[in-house]
Structure formats: C-alpha cells, structure tokens
C-alpha cells in the first residue's frame, strides 16, 4: 500500500494545479490589489484602504447598486422560492401533465442566459414586441419602452429571472419522493385534507431543501451579468445596475482595476454573509 501515496499525489495534482491557476492566483491578486491604486498602464501602488474609502464615502452610484442587488436578493429568496416550492408540491402528485410541465418549465433554465436576455429584448421591443402588440389591441396608441424607461426598467429586469424557478421545483420534487408513503396514508386515515398534508407534513420536511434553494437563488443574484449586459448594461442611469455589472464596468470600461477589485472583495464578502444569514434563518447547521 506504500506506493499508493505516490498515486494519491499524482491523482490530486492536476486538480490542484487547475485550482491554483484559475482560483488561487486570481484570488490572491484580487485581495492584494484591492488595497492598491491600479489603473490601465499604471504601476500597482499600495494605497491602503483608499479604494474602500472611495467606495463607501464618495461613490453615490454604489449605494443604488447595493440597494438594487439587495432588493433582487430579497425578491429571489422569497417570491422565486415560493413559486418553485408551490409548483413542486403540485407536481409531486403524478398526473398526466407532470412530466410535460416540468420539461417545458425548465427550458429557460437550461438555455444560455444571454439568449434569455435577447428573448426579452425581442418580446418587449417597443415597436414590434409581443407584449406591446397585445396591449395595443386594447389601447391602440400604446407605446412604452420597458427596458429603457427608468420607471419600469428595474421590474422588467426582475421579470427576466423571477418566475423561472424550475431548479427549486425539481429539488423540491426530488426531496418529496423521499418522504415515506405510510406518513401520507396515516394522515389520510386521520382525515387530513390535501392542504393540511402540504402544510403540516410536507413543508416541515422540506425545510432543509428550501434553505438550500434559498441560498442558491440568493447567491445567483450576485452572479447575474449576462442578462444585464445583453439588455440594459445597467441603465438607464444605474437603475438596473447590480454588483457584477458594476464590477464589469469599473474594470473593463473605466479600466480602474484597483477599485474593481475592491468591489470584487466586497462581492465575495456579501456572498459569504448571505450564506451565513440564510443558514441562520433556516437553522440548517444543526443537523
């Protein structure tokens, strides 16, 4: 068995190298340069907490960006989850439509989100989009630019992901198959209605998976870049700007690398805080 040690090393090495190259080195670079002044063509100069001071005390856009991101996280971890769980509970009882509904509902989750972005741009196009066409049936001179009007841009953007909760549905359905059948039988014999079974048996048993999907849904709001880049690029103004889009803009449009990496550090800390908070709410660490 002694020479197995060599093999263990050899089997771990490629993953370790890959990890170092794509995660470790960039992470070290990220944290180190978040304390530096670094723009395009300039040297990297240590500047202490300057970037963070700039962000927190002199950056008015960041306040809106943070509040946008926070509202999206909140909506996603409540309404999105509720939709997914409700559908999961409905579909867990096998009917003729179960498979077809599940298959269709998951489609928006498996195609590229860049395509979702374009899809929404098309159906919401002010001239020929489907939505305005339908409204014009009732109000012939209706004209509204959903994405570019500041009064609707935020919620238009929200609608591109809020209702697509197929992942939650699938996880809830998978979890429900693990509930022992005799529990249902006992409940039915005791005269429990369908709603009571959902409320008093299924939901309590789903607590952990709901917590898990809430974490997934909430942290996915810290990753949404594709759809925003494809549609509004964060505009009009900063009304649909979230953290990833702000980082993208700071790093690759304004070329302020030090500042963008300070934002990156902030983003990672937000992610950790959310995971911690949701774990706390759902009490998931006490297994």
């Amino acid at each position: 068995m002694q020479n197995n040690k060599v093999w263990i090393g050899i089997f771990l090495l490629p993953t370790f190298l890959l990890f170092c190259f794509i995660y470790l080195i960039p992470l070290v670079l990220l944290f180190a340069t978040s304390f530096c002044e670094w723009t395009i063509g300039s040297d990297i100069i240590f500047s202490g907490l300057e970037n963070f001071k700039q962000l927190f005390f002199h950056d008015d856009s960041l306040k809106i960006v943070l509040s946008n991101t926070a509202v999206w996280i909140l909506l996603q971890s409540t309404i999105h989850i509720a939709i997914g769980v409700a559908l999961g509970l409905i579909l867990s009882r096998k009917r003729w439509y179960t498979d077809i509904v599940r298959t269709i509902y998951i489609i928006p989750n498996i195609i590229s989100s860049a395509a979702i972005g374009i899809l929404f741009l098309c159906i919401l196009n002010p001239q020929f989009g489907m939505v305005n066409n339908i409204i014009r049936r009732f109000r012939p001179d209706f004209m509204h630019n959903w994405f570019n009007n500041p009064s609707t841009s935020f919620y238009t953007m929200t609608s591109t992901w809020l209702f697509y909760a197929a992942i939650v549905t699938i996880l809830v359905m998978a979890e429900l198959t693990a509930i022992p059948k005799d529990l249902y039988e006992a409940a039915t014999i005791d005269g429990a209605s369908r709603i009571q079974i959902a409320r008093f048996i299924e939901l309590p048993l789903l607590k952990n998976i709901i917590g898990t999907t809430t974490i997934l849904a909430a942290t996915s709001m810290l990753q949404k870049l594709d759809i925003i880049i494809m549609t509004t690029k964060g505009g009009p103004g900063v009304s649909t700007m979230n953290m990833p889009m702000y980082i993208y803009k700071t790093a690759l449009v304004d070329n302020n690398y030090g500042l963008s990496n300070a934002l990156g550090v902030l983003l990672i800390l937000m992610g950790l805080a959310i995971v911690w908070l949701i774990n706390l709410i759902y009490g998931m660490n006490k297994k």
């Binding site: 490629p14 370790f16 298959t103 395509a115 899809l119 066409n133 990753q223 870049l225 980082i247």
Partner: protein, 276 residues
Amino acid sequence: MKILYIILNVLKFLFIITLVSIAIVPFLWVFINSFKSNSQILSSVAGFPDGLVIKNYWNAFKLAPFVIFYRNSVIVTVISTCLNVFILSMSAYVLARYRFKFNNALVLLFSVGLVIPGAALLQPLYKTLIATSLYNTLTGLIITYAAFGIPITLYIMMSYFKTIPESLEEAAYIDGASFLRTYFQIILPLSKPALATAAVLQFLLCWNEFQFALTLTKDVSKRTLPIALYYFKSAFASDYGAMFSAVILVTIPSIIFFIIMQKQVISGLVAGAIKS
C-alpha cells in the same frame, strides 16, 4: 367544501398554465417570427408567417460567422468537459477513499468556487490569462471552464465513489492488480452513471457560459456561440428576422441536448445542489 375544492383546482391549473406560458411563449413567439420577413415583423400583425421563409437563417449565417462560433463552442465544450471529468474523477476517488492529512482541507479548498461569484474574478483572471499568454485563446477558455466545474464534479463523483463497496478494491489488490489498474479497469467503468451526470452538467456550463467568453477572448475567430447574440445585438440590430433566427440557432442545441439527456440533467441538478 365542494365549491372550495373546485376553486382550488381552478387556481392550481391557472398557476400551472401561467408558469408554463411564461416559460415557453416568448420562445415560441421568437421562433414563429424567425420565419417572417422584416416588414412583416414591423407591421406587427400577430399570427403566422406567409409560408416558411428560411431566408432569415441564411442571413444570420451570412451576417455572423456562425460556423466559427459553432465550431469553437463544440471544441471548448467537448475538451473542457472531458478534461474536467477526467481529472476531477481521479481526485474525487482518492479524496473519497483514502484518509490522509490534508483530506478535508483539500475538499474544502476545492469547494471555494461555490462561494466566489464569477464577477469578482473577471479582472484578476483576465490579467492572469494575459500574463500566461492564454488570453484570446480557446485553450484559455477550456482551462477556465474546467476549473469552474471543480466543486460540482468533485461532489457528484465523491458521493458516488462512497457507494462502491471497498471489498471490490481489496479483492482486486489481492489478485495483484495495481492501484492504477484497479481505478481505470474496475472503479471507473462502474461509475458511468455518475460520470454521465457530471459530464452533462459541465457540458451545459461550458455551452452556455457568457461573461468569461466575452472578457477572455477578443477576436471573432475565438468566440463561442453565446457571444454570437451579443454580436448581433450590437452590429446588426436592424435585421430583426436574422436576430430572431440567431436566438433559435443558439438555443436549439441546448434544448435538444436537454430533451435527450433529461434524466442526467435532472439528477445532476439535484446532486449538484445538495452540496451547499
């Protein structure tokens, strides 16, 4: 009680129908419109096109180098998926089977990707790839995607390996099989279902990835399919018919792939999510 039951049932069906419509109607609308001429689209008559016009698809191919985008996407996705599954299953095997000093630390380290939002790494990764002259190469994308799949593949493979009885390997060792042979000839063939699940998830990740494909490449000859849409949006925004067909061209492969591999995708999504 009877009336309440009927109302609940109606509500239930309304709910299902609403969600299904939200999921599929935009797609169907774009699909139907992709066969209409530009003037027909702009005259905003809902309804079906006059006959099947595939001119838009032809235009889409003429306007954007779709053949190159498809080729790049296939190359990146296939190689990255193989690379990811091959090296991750090796690591998952030793991490699941052997107890050694840094075992738990390594599992934790490799899971770091789960809590790092991709956007945080955009600029540092961009600089890292420039420094190693992998920027604007397919190799750069392949390596990047293979790494992004580390946590999920590792988790799927580790939990599968744990279900294989250890007596199997002991028997192989007694028969004189080496470590390498035991792994490749006994363990790996047994793990096909888990390999398929992990590969399918990695495949979708690579095929659909957008933000790093956008930032880590710059020449048209190095770009992948999701970027084609970006290209259309900025360069040919007035040819709507072609843009609609571009959306269909980009999404159809994922949808067909999903319908064929549905079982693996779903079990992968379930396995992939439990890790957190």
